[in-house]
Amino acid sequence: MSLLHLLVLSPFILALFIPFLYKWFRNVHTGWFILPLPVLLFVYLIQFVSAGPGLGFEPIMETVPWVPSLGINFTIYLDGLSLLFALLITGIGALVVLYSIFYIANKKDEPLNNFYVYLLMFMGAMLGVVLSDNLIVIYVFWELTSLASSLLIAYWFHKEKSRYGAQKSMLITVTGGFAMLAGFSLLYVITGTFSIQGIIEQSQVVIESPLLVPTVLLVLLGAFTKSAQFPFHIWLPDAMEAPTPVSAYLHSATMVKAGIYLVARFTPVFGGTSIWFWVVSLAGLITLTWGSISAVRQKDLKGILAFSTISQLGLIMSLLGLGSAALYFDVAEEGQVYTVATMAAVFHLINHATFKGGLFMAVGIIDHETGTRDIRKLGGLMALMPITFTISLIGLASMAGLPPFNGFLSKEMFFTGVLDATGLEVFNMQTFGLIFPVFAWIASIFTFLYCLIMLFKTFFGNYQPEKLEKEAHEAPIGMLISPIILISLVVIIGLFPNIVSYTLIEPVMNSILPGFQFDVNLYHWHGLNTELFMTLGVIVFGSLIYMNLGRWQETYFFLRERDPFNQVYDRGLDGLITGAQGVTNVQMTGLLRDYFAYMIVFMVGALTVTMYWFDAFTFAVDPDSMASIPVFAAIIVALTAIVSLSLPFIHHRVSAIIVLGVVGFLVALLFVVFRAPDLALTQLLVETVMVVLLLLCFYFLPELKKEDFKPRFRWLNLVISISVGLIVSLIGISTLALSDTAQFESISEYFIENTYELTGGKNMVNMILDDFRALDTILEVLVLGIAALGVVALIKMRFKGGEDV
C-alpha cells in the first residue's frame, strides 16, 4: 500500500465521515471540510511534474494484491497520461468544491451530505480509473463513476426530468461499460494478462489476433458511451438537470473524458490498425460536426454547453484517431508528421477542461443571479455582471478558437492534423482523406456561431427584468474565484503555451506514442499557411451566418430543440417494455395446461434429439435374452392397457375412480406374476387407501363437465400424449437392446449372496430398504410425515385472507 493507493482511496475514506461532519457541525458548510482533500492531492501530484524538455519521469508502478489467483491486482501506474488526468480531476475538483460551497450556500434545505458523499465517491472512482493499470480494477472504478454520476444527476430527485436524465445516463453508460468489460475479457483471452502495460508489450500479438475487430469495437463502445460520442451523445444534454457544479465537473472536465483517456491509453495497443484509425477518427468527426450543429439550436445555456462539450470531445477523439496512424509507420521519419494530431488532442484536452469548466461556472452564476438560463429571456447583462461577462467572453473566445487564447492554438493544430491526414497513403485515405478537413472546417464555423449566440444573446441586447425571476446583479466573490482561476489559466496557457508543453504534454505523448521523438514547442505564429486562412474563413462565415440568423431561426431545424436520436432512445425503451410484456403475455397464459404442454414438448424434443444425436435408437433385442410370455400374463397386460385407455372416455367421476382402482389392482397382480410379494402388498394397500381418499374428496366436487375444446386443441393434445408414450417406449426398448451390448454384472448378486450373512434377515427387499439403503427409507418416512402435517395444516388452518403467513 503506497501513498498513491491511499491517494485513490482517500476520497472514499473521507466520504465515510461526511454524514457525521454534516450532522455535528451544522453551522459550518460541509464543503469546507471537503476542500482540503483535493487541494492536498493536487499539491501532492504536482510534485511529479517535471520541468524542462525531454526530462519526463520514470513511470511509477505500485501493486497491492487483490485477487492474485485471478491476476486481479490493485496496481497503480503513474505516467504522463495518468498524471495529466489526475491533475485535472483533483485541480478542477478543488475548484468545483469551492464553487459549490457558494452555489448551494443559501439553500438551507439542501441535503449537502448526499451531495458531497456522491462527489467524493466520483472523485475517488475517477482517480481510480486513470491511475489503475489492471483492466478489472479500471472496470470497477469505471462503473463507480457511472453510479456516482447518476446519483449526482438525480440530486434533485423530486424532479421528473432529473430522474429521467439519471436513468438515461445510467442505462447508456452502463451498457457501454458492460461492452467494455467484454472487450477486456477478450484482451485477457488474447494476451493472458489484465495489466495494460503487459498488454502494450504484446500489442503485436493483439493486432495479429483474429479477435482484434470484436475487441476493438467492444472496448470502443465503452469509451464512446462514456465520452458521449455519436450516437450515444444523447444522455449528456439530459444530464444537465444536475446542479451546475456537477455539470462543470463531471460533464465537461472529467467523466466524459474517461472515454478519451481509455482511447489514449489503448492507442499503443491498437494504434496503427485501420479499424482503430477509422472507427475512432470517424466517430470523433461525426460527433464534432453533429454536436456543433445541434448546439446552435439550443435555447438553454447549459444545453448549448452540453452540445459544445459533445462536439469538442468529438474533436479530441478524431485527433486521437488520426494520431494513431503514426504507429503504422513505426518510429521512422514519415510517422512523425502525424504525431502532431495527438499533440493537438492532448493540448485541446487541457484547454477544454479549463475554458469549459469556467464557462459552466459562469452559466451557473447567471442562473443563480437571474433565475433562468433561457437565452430568450436573458440579455443586456454586460454592465450588470461585468466579471461574469469577462469570464464568459474569454472562455467563449477560446472555445471559438480566437487568438490570443489557448483555443486558437489547439484549433490551429487541429487543422494541421486534419490537413496532414489528407496526405496519408494508407487506410484508403487517398480516397476519403478530404472529408476530414472539410468536416472539421464546417464544424468550426458552427462552433464559432454558437459561441457568438451565447455571448450576444446573454450579455448584449436589451435587459428584460420583467422576464427574470430575480433582479440581476453580480455574484458574490466566492463564486467568482473558481471561474477566475480557470479563465486565468486560459489566458496564461494562451500567451505562454510552453508552460504546459514540456511539463504536461510531452510525458503524455510519451505514454500515448511510446518511442517517438516530438517537437512539442508551441508558438503562436505559424506563418501565412493554410490553417490561418481556414481560421479566417471560419470567422468570416460564422459572422455572416450570425448576422442572418433571423432568417434561419424560423426554420424547422432551429425550432426543434431535442436531438432526433432521443426519439430512437425513447421509442426503443418503450418498445423494449411493451415487447417484453407482449412476449410474456404470449407464453405466460396462466393456464397449467399450457405449461404442461411446454414442459412435455420440450422433454420429448430433448429426448428425441439426444437419442438421435448419439444414434441410440437400437432395437436389435437378442431374442434369447427375453423371457417367454405366459398367456395369462398377456391377458393381464392387455387388460391393463384397455382399462387405462378407457379412462379418458369416462365422464362420471366416481366411475373414473373405480376404473383407476381396477388399474391399480391389475398392477398389483402383475407384481405377483413377476414375483414381488412386498410390492404387491404395498400396492394393494396404497391403491385402496387412494381410492377411498379420492372418494372422500371428490364427493364434494361437482360432476365432471365435458369441456368443449377446439378440434385443433384436441388433436394437439392427442399428438403430444402419443409422442410421450412413443418416446418413453422407444427409450425402454433401446435400453434393453443396449444393455445386451454392454455386459455389466448386476449389483443384485451381491445382495443375494450377502443378505443373510450381513444382516441376519432373509427378506432381501426389506433388508435393502432397512439396512443396505436405509437412508432413503428415512427420508421417505420424512416425506410422509410432511405430507400428513401438510394435510392437517390445510384442513385446520382456514385463513380469512389478509393474514401474514
Binding site: V631, I635, I658, F665, R675, L695, L696
Partner: protein, 93 residues
Amino acid sequence: MLYTIANVCLVLMALSIAVLFIRVIIGPTLSDRVVALDTIGINLIGFIGIIMLIQNTIAYSEVILVIAILAFVGSIAFAKFIEGGVVIDRGDR
C-alpha cells in the same frame, strides 16, 4: 399335468377379470360397478393362489389375506358411500 391345468385356470380367471371389467365400465349404476370390483378382488385371490402353485412358493399368502380384507373394506366403504353419501361419519351427530 398340474401346470397345464393351472395355466388353463389362470387364463380362464384372466378372462373372467376382463368380463368383470366390462361390467365395471358399462355397469349402468354405481352398485353394478362396486359389485364387479368386489368380484375382481375375489378373482385376484384365486389368481394369486394358482400363481403360488405354479411358482411353488408361499410368499403371497399375505397378499391373499390383504386382498380379502381390502375387498371387504372397499365394498363396505362404497356401500356406505352409496347409502349415506359419506364414507366416515362425523362424531355424535
